[in-house]
Each structure stands twice: as structure tokens, then as C-alpha cells.
């Protein structure tokens, strides 16, 4: 049996079959509820608490390191005062952290009230594991009412949309990912385009006609036409407009309003935006 063709080439044949299976998954896509989506949901559920723990651990480690360097300057003081100082500093750092978190949440609540729609806040606990795509891992999942396709916002502007959920965690595709696209327009000139991410980092406004009036510094907001983001949310400002070169469209670069690396809390709209006709009636 061991001399048969199948046995001798079993690794390559298995690998080939798995490559075909992978290509099938890529081409057909894995939809929520599919059998193929379950292992991923389970895995996200297993890894997200560990990711959260790693994040907490490293936060703690950096806090200890910070405290150590600060203590070097007060070595001359007696042990009691040093302990007191450490305690006070730890409390202060904790309170400062709470204050920042409070400010973020307050800003998100304000945004939620302004939008007048159902929304929930979630903590950011991780980023894309291999860094090729631009995604975030959130600490809330389907048990909190999240599902793929929901809009994710920060108080500064649009963040992205949910692409995968497990009961207690979810993943967000950021607007600067090269697979992301949303409908937006220039608030000054009303010129429309598709806001998309780029492979080599950055965000652009695609399909903006050469005749359109777009200027550096203009504000780009969501149009609401994509059915995901409500109309009028801040996306970013135009960084550069290149009219030179071939092609039908302008090359427009956008500086996103949100600094995705600094995000700690986000707001997820659990209710799809109203149709434009409904908005017009209102």
C-alpha cells in the first residue's frame, strides 16, 4: 500500500485539495450562519479574552515601567513616602485613565443622542492579527446585539463596519482597509465619490469626476446612500487633489478624521439608517 501513488503523494494531494477548498471559500465568501463561519466564530470567542488579557497585561507592564522610572528620581526619600507616592500615583493614573474613558464614553453618548438611533458602545481589544488588512477586534458580540454590516463610529467620525461576530467579540473592517468602500460627498461642493482604503495605507475618494469642484481642506461626509452609515457623518478632510495624469477621475487623498490607532471605545449603530425618503419626510 505504501508504494502506491496516492500514498507516496498524500501530503501534496491533501495540500492541493485544501488549497482548492481555500479558493472555494475565498470565491464564494463565508456568510454569517454558514457552517464554515462557525469555526471562525468559535475561534474568535476563544482568542478574544486572551487578547484582552494580553492587552491588560501589557498596559500593566508599561504602567509599572513608567512608575519605576519615576521612582528613580525619588530614591532619596524614605520608604514610607515612596510607598505613599507610588500609591497616590497609581490612584492618579487609574483616575486619569477612568477620566479619559469617561470622556470618550460621554462623547459617544453625545454622538448617540445626536444621531437619535439605537447604538451601543464597545471597547477595542485588538487589531488585525497579521497586519495586511486593517481591522479591529471589539469586546462586544452577537450577545450584545451586534451583527455583520453594522456601522461603527467614534466621536471624531466614521470608523468602519462590522464584518464578523462571535457571542462576545466582533471584528470591524476599518475605512482605510483596501477592501472597504462607502459612499461620501464633499460638504462644500456636494461632489460625490466612493471613499476607499488603499493597499499602501491611506484613504482616497474614488470616481470623483475631473470636472468636479474638490479642494484641499474640504470636508468629506457620508451620503447615507450605502445603507450602512447615516448621512452627514464626518469621514475626513481632503489632503490632496491631483488633476494631472491620465484617466477619467481625479486622484483625491483623504486624511481620515479618526486616528484608528488611538481608538479605545467605539459606538456601533444597531439600527440601520433611515432611507433618504424617510429623512426627507422628516
Amino acid at each position: 500500500m505504501k508504494s502506491t501513488f496516492l500514498w507516496r503523494n498524500r501530503v501534496l494531494l491533501t495540500g492541493g485539495a485544501l488549497l482548492i477548498l481555500s479558493l472555494h471559500l475565498i470565491s464564494t465568501g463565508v456568510h454569517p450562519g454558514d457552517l464554515a463561519a462557525r469555526p471562525q466564530s468559535v475561534f474568535l470567542e476563544i482568542v478574544s479574552p486572551i487578547t484582552g488579557a494580553f492587552t491588560h497585561l501589557s498596559d500593566g507592564a508599561s504602567s509599572i515601567t513608567r512608575d519605576y522610572f519615576e521612582l528613580v528620581h525619588v530614591r532619596q526619600e524614605n520608604a514610607h513616602l515612596r510607598d505613599e507616592l507610588t500609591k497616590v500615583k497609581a490612584d492618579k493614573a487609574r483616575l486619569a485613565e477612568l477620566e479619559v474613558e469617561n470622556q470618550h464614553l460621554a462623547a459617544l453618548v453625545e454622538l448617540k443622542d445626536a444621531l437619535g438611533t439605537n447604538a451601543i458602545a464597545a471597547n477595542v481589544i485588538g487589531s488585525d492579527a497579521n497586519g495586511i488588512s486593517r481591522t479591529l477586534v471589539l469586546s462586544s458580540g452577537s450577545d450584545n446585539g451586534l451583527r455583520p454590516g453594522l456601522a461603527v463610529l467614534a466621536n471624531q467620525g466614521v470608523v468602519g463596519k462590522i464584518i464578523a461576530v462571535s457571542p462576545h467579540a466582533s471584528r470591524v473592517l476599518l475605512i482605510d482597509d483596501h477592501n472597504s468602500a462607502l459612499d461620501g460627498f464633499d460638504q462644500r461642493s456636494r461632489a460625490r465619490g466612493i471613499v476607499a482604503g488603499m493597499v499602501d495605507d491611506g484613504v482616497i475618494l474614488k470616481y470623483a469626476d475631473r470636472s468636479q469642484d474638490l479642494l484641499t481642506g474640504d470636508t468629506i461626509v457620508t451620503s447615507g446612500l450605502d445603507g450602512i452609515f447615516p448621512r452627514g457623518l464626518l469621514v475626513g478632510t481632503i489632503q490632496s487633489v491631483h488633476r494631472e495624469g491620465p484617466g477619467l477621475f481625479l486622484a483625491v487623498r483623504i486624511a481620515p478624521a479618526v486616528d484608528f490607532r488611538e481608538l479605545e471605545q467605539v459606538l456601533i449603530l444597531t439600527q440601520p439608517p433611515p432611507h433618504l425618503e424617510d429623512q426627507a419626510k422628516d
Binding site: R10, V11, L12, T14, G15, L18, L19, L21, S22, L23, H24, L25, I26, G29, V30, A36, A37, P39, Q40, S41, F43, L44, I46, V47, I50, T51, G52, A53, F54, T55, S58, S62, V124, I125, G126, S127, D128, A129, N130, G131, I132, S133, T135, V137, I163, A164, R171, L173, D177, H178, N179, M198, V199, D200, D201, R261
Partner: protein
Amino acid sequence: MRLILLFAVFVILGLAFESAGARLISFRALIPNLIIILAVDLGLRHHGVLPAILAFAMGYATDALAGSHPGLNAFMTTMVFLVSYEISTRLMTANAGVGATVVFFGVIATTLGTIAIANGFAALSSTGPMLPGLMLQALITAIVAPFIFSMLAAGKRLTGLPVGSARDGHRDR
């Protein structure tokens, strides 16, 4: 079963570390691609159907925390496994140096392959600005690889799995 458990632990810890690390270190290239190291170890040291399936499963698990096209990381990890397997069947030895070299090229090929499949081959023309960062990440991953191989070897010794290359005699099913 022991092989599955050992690699499951490494994959879970590795992905959690990468995901949390990416939040803390703003320069993403400094975080090594640990899954590629695991796939290379499987390809170099475990020749069988189970390791091939395990490589695919590791990639599919990565899809849960990275990328926007489920199946893409599974494809790339299986590919890295098969290339490592082919290399180990053709070389007299499969030591840590060979492993680190395969890891270096594996990281570059995986990233560029992912971009090409997800966005079309034309997108490769705009990858120029990301190449220095990619090279740095590949180099860091290759430097880290021998340590991960040692940790895997220790884990295999602890669980009673064969440590050496599959060329040395043992075969997984």
C-alpha cells in the same frame, strides 16, 4: 492528537499576542508573523496528511482575527506548509537556519500573495511603499523563528512527539 493540541496552544497564544501587540506597537512591522513560523515547522518536520490539515486549520483560525476574505490566510498557510514540505524533502538537512530562511521568504510571499488575491495582481504595483516595512517584518520573524522552533521542540519533547525532521525517519499520518 498531541500534535493538534500543541499547535492549537501555540496558534491561540500567537494570534492573541499578534492582535494585542498590534494595538500597542504603532509600527506593525515590528510584530513577527508567528503563524508562518508554525506552518514552516510543520512543513519541515511533520510529513503527513494530519500536518497538512493542521496547516490549513491554522490559516483558517487566522482568518478569524485577520483579513477580510475568509479562506485567504488558510490558502497562504497551506501554501507555506507545502513549500516547506517540498524544501525539506529535497534538502539533506532542515535545521533552524533553513527554517528561518523559509520563514523570511514565506512572510514576504504571504503578504504579497494576500494582496494579489484580494485586490488583483495590479494592486502589487502599489505595494512599493510598504516593502521596507514588509522586509523588516520578514527579517524580525526570521530572527524570532529559531526561538519558536526551540519552544515547539520543547513542547514536543514534553508531549512525547518526535522532535527531529521527518527526513530522520518518523512520519505523521
